[in-house]
């Protein structure tokens, strides 16, 4: 099975919802093309285990050549959703359609998907070659053709020198590469990755993330990854679906998820965030004014339909907040406070500031100059301010 060369249909560059777009692959956005058929469609998928609902009525489209991430804490249903696509769990309700074909009742061995397991699940009694060629042997492919394809996969993942080794003679990183090679050897249309890098240490994991992206791009395969690591999802994915307790909370590009989170849960799950709770005091010119409970007046540009008096939250990323000793000229979005803690991380510093209203706010500042003229220190009185388009209004 060869992967159809996508990208023939010139992707229409429709502007995405929200004020900002920060997709890394700006040209690739099949999810915005209403005519583009999805390669995977989950239709109203629900999965119950006895009285526990693991996945709640999820409808989701994934497109060819996407690197799609299912992100969420453990127990959120992301692995169950992936395992249903692999055929290892049957949905209680709903349909799964792959390339226009209903595969809901298809056994795993007939599905055009291959999975890379969290435990790698390498066959301990077979060599690296044997493991990678396993799927090809099931198809009854001629021996020389198998050897060719196995060699190709081994070359792609730099495994040739380990061809005759058994899995227990390999390091964790090498095993991970064998597992990936085995999953792509059959050239499936979709590769499923269940926490593929969970067992690697941090440095190796970053290296492996880029390797995954390289393989995904060179093979042109659709990758669907399950992960609980938001940085990993942000790094590799074209789109991220954030899940919580069986629900799909938001599906968007990494940039959109970061800049325009839909709920407080997502804003906190991906990256650090400052949340101001408050009530809407005015709505005008696409701007929302919020009277925060800690006593400040906040103004933010927002497309979120809100009404005066409604309870809302303003989510503000630490790097969007300016911190200085001088009072800013503007009176909106300016809060005085006292520095409580400083986290020096080398390239950047975190400042934890307690406002007059008692809220703790984190601001981030790059340590650009070697010695800042007036460096901010503990117990300093400072001003925090940010532009009107820095924050996001959340209603949930």
């Amino acid at each position: 099975m060869t992967v159809a060369t996508a990208s023939q249909s010139t992707p229409t560059l429709t502007p995405r919802a929200g004020p900002r777009t920060a997709a890394p692959q700006s040209g690739f956005a099949p999810w915005n093309d209403p005519k583009k058929p999805p390669i995977v469609r989950f239709e109203g998928i629900t999965k119950r285990f006895d009285d526990f609902v693991a996945v709640k009525n999820i409808t989701l489209d994934i497109y060819e050549r996407e690197f799609f991430a299912l992100l969420g804490p453990s127990g959120c249903g992301k692995s169950t959703l992936l395992r249903m696509l692999g055929g290892f769990e049957k949905p209680t309700e709903g349909k799964i359609i792959v390339a226009g074909q209903d595969i809901t009742d298809m056994p795993p061995y007939d599905r055009p998907v291959n999975m890379m397991f969290q435990s790698y699940a390498l066959f301990p009694h077979m060599t690296v070659e044997g493991n990678i060629g396993f799927g090809l042997r099931q198809e009854g492919m001629p021996k020389d053709k198998i050897a060719e394809r196995v060699d190709e996969a081994m070359g792609m993942l730099e495994l040739r020198q380990f061809a005759k080794r058994k899995p227990n003679q390999l390091s964790g990183g090498q095993q991970q590469r064998v597992a990936l090679a085995r999953a792509i050897a059959k050239k499936p249309r979709i590769v499923l990755l269940d926490e593929p890098l969970g067992a690697l240490d941090k440095k190796l994991r970053q290296q492996a993330q880029f390797e995954l992206m390289r393989i995904q791009e060179t093979t042109g395969t659709t990758f669907i990854i399950v992960t609980h690591d938001q940085e990993e999802a942000m790094t590799v994915a074209s789109r991220i679906a954030v899940m919580d307790k069986g629900d799909l909370v938001q599906v968007a590009t990494p940039g959109d998820i970061y800049e325009n989170p839909k709920t407080r849960y997502i804003s906190g799950f991906i990256g650090d965030v400052n949340l101001f709770e408050g009530k809407v005091s005015a709505v005008a010119d696409g701007c929302v004014e919020i009277e925060s409970t800690e006593g400040s007046k906040l103004k933010t540009r927002s497309a979120e339909p809100v009404s005066v008096g409604q309870q809302v939250w303003l989510a503000l990323r630490p790097e969007k907040i300016r911190i200085s000793h001088d009072q800013p000229s503007s009176t909106v979005n300016a809060i005085p406070g006292k520095v409580e803690d400083i986290g020096y991380l080398g390239s950047i510093s975190h400042y934890h500031v307690r406002t007059a209203g008692g809220q703790r706010i984190t601001a981030l500042r790059a340590n650009a100059a070697h010695a800042v003229e007036r460096s901010i220190s503990w117990e300093d009185s400072v001003w925090l301010d940010w532009p009107v388009d820095a924050g996001v209004v959340l209603t949930r």
């Binding site: 692999g86 290892f88 061995y109 999975m115 969290q118 699940a121 390498l122 066959f123 099931q138 227990n168």
Partner: protein
């Protein structure tokens, strides 16, 4: 033993204990039996000569020992046939036990985790009754007017009484029944260790369930198959009680021959020679067993 001068002397005590046990209760008795096998039968108490005494001296004692009993055994086809027949019956019975035990062990390993201790208990439960009593129970089941006949006639499967008591078939049934746990437990242990995601991976890569079994499950259970087969085969070759109680006159097994020589003919030296030869017959599978264990240890490092 290694020549390293370990400062921890207690370690040597720990190692010495089992070796001392083997020396006293295995090696020394073996030499007693071996010496007996080199003696001559005599109408006396004990029924053999020579008996060591300080008055005649060690040289005199050794000069009376010979390999006469061994040449006799090799010259008489009865013994050779008994050896071959024992090995054959044990091998067939081992294979039958494997066929019965494998699905059971597989079922146990796949059963819900909460059930597994109970199932294990059920396997071991028969050991709580005397082995002899359980074999006697089989007589009651297998005899022509026994429970098996009664049951199968009632079901209308047979119309005439079963004629399996006192045949080799009854011996097979007895061995399979008695040694089933020895096959089942190592099989279960190796099947239970197999990571279920390996089977998912096999299916994911296009292998149908039956092929997955032969490509993944069975090869990975081979250590258990080896261990189980040897644990059944080795004692089954020398089995005496089962062929004696369930087998007929046509069931030739070396254990029975040995018993006859020892108790009926009171020929202790010949019986000892038969026993020593039986040990040599079993050395081959025992060595295989040891090697297998060694390999498994290395694989599971």
């Amino acid at each position: 033993m290694s020549s390293s001068s370990s400062p921890d002397i207690r370690r040597w005590y720990v190692i010495a204990a089992p070796y001392l046990w083997l020396l006293i209760f295995f090696l020394i008795p073996f030499f007693v039996v071996f010496k007996l096998s080199l003696s001559d039968v005599a109408t006396a108490i004990p029924p053999y000569t020579p008996i060591f005494s300080w008055s005649t001296g060690i040289w005199e004692f050794f000069s009376q020992l010979d390999f006469e009993n061994y040449t006799f055994i090799f010259g008489d086809p009865l013994y050779i046939n008994a050896y071959f027949s024992s090995v054959k019956i044990a091998a067939v019975a081992t294979f039958l036990t494997l066929l019965v035990a494998y699905p059971m062990a597989y079922g146990m390993a796949r059963a819900p985790k909460a059930w597994q201790p109970t199932l294990m208990m059920l396997v071991i439960l028969p050991f709580w009754t005397s082995f002899l009593i359980r074999i006697y129970a089989w007589i009651a089941i297998l005899k022509p007017e026994g429970f098996a006949t009664l049951f199968l006639t009632k079901l209308g499967i047979i119309s005439e009484p079963l004629q399996i008591m006192n045949t080799t078939t009854a011996v097979y049934i007895g061995i399979v029944y008695s040694y089933l746990p020895f096959m089942l437990l190592p099989l279960y242990a190796s099947l239970e260790k197999i990571n279920p995601s390996l089977l998912e991976a096999a299916q994911d890569l296009g292998s149908r369930p039956w092929r997955s079994f032969w490509q993944v499950t069975f090869p990975l259970s081979l250590p258990g198959v080896f261990a189980g087969c040897l644990l059944v085969f080795i004692p089954a070759v020398g089995e005496f009680v089962i062929p004696d109680l369930l087998g007929g006159s046509d069931t030739l097994m070396i254990g029975k021959t040995l018993w006859t020589e020892f108790f009926n003919n009171r020929d202790w030296p010949l019986a000892s020679a038969v026993a020593v030869l039986l040990l040599f017959v079993l050395i081959v599978p025992i060595v295989i067993f040891q090697r297998q264990q060694q390999l498994e240890r290395e694989a599971g490092r």
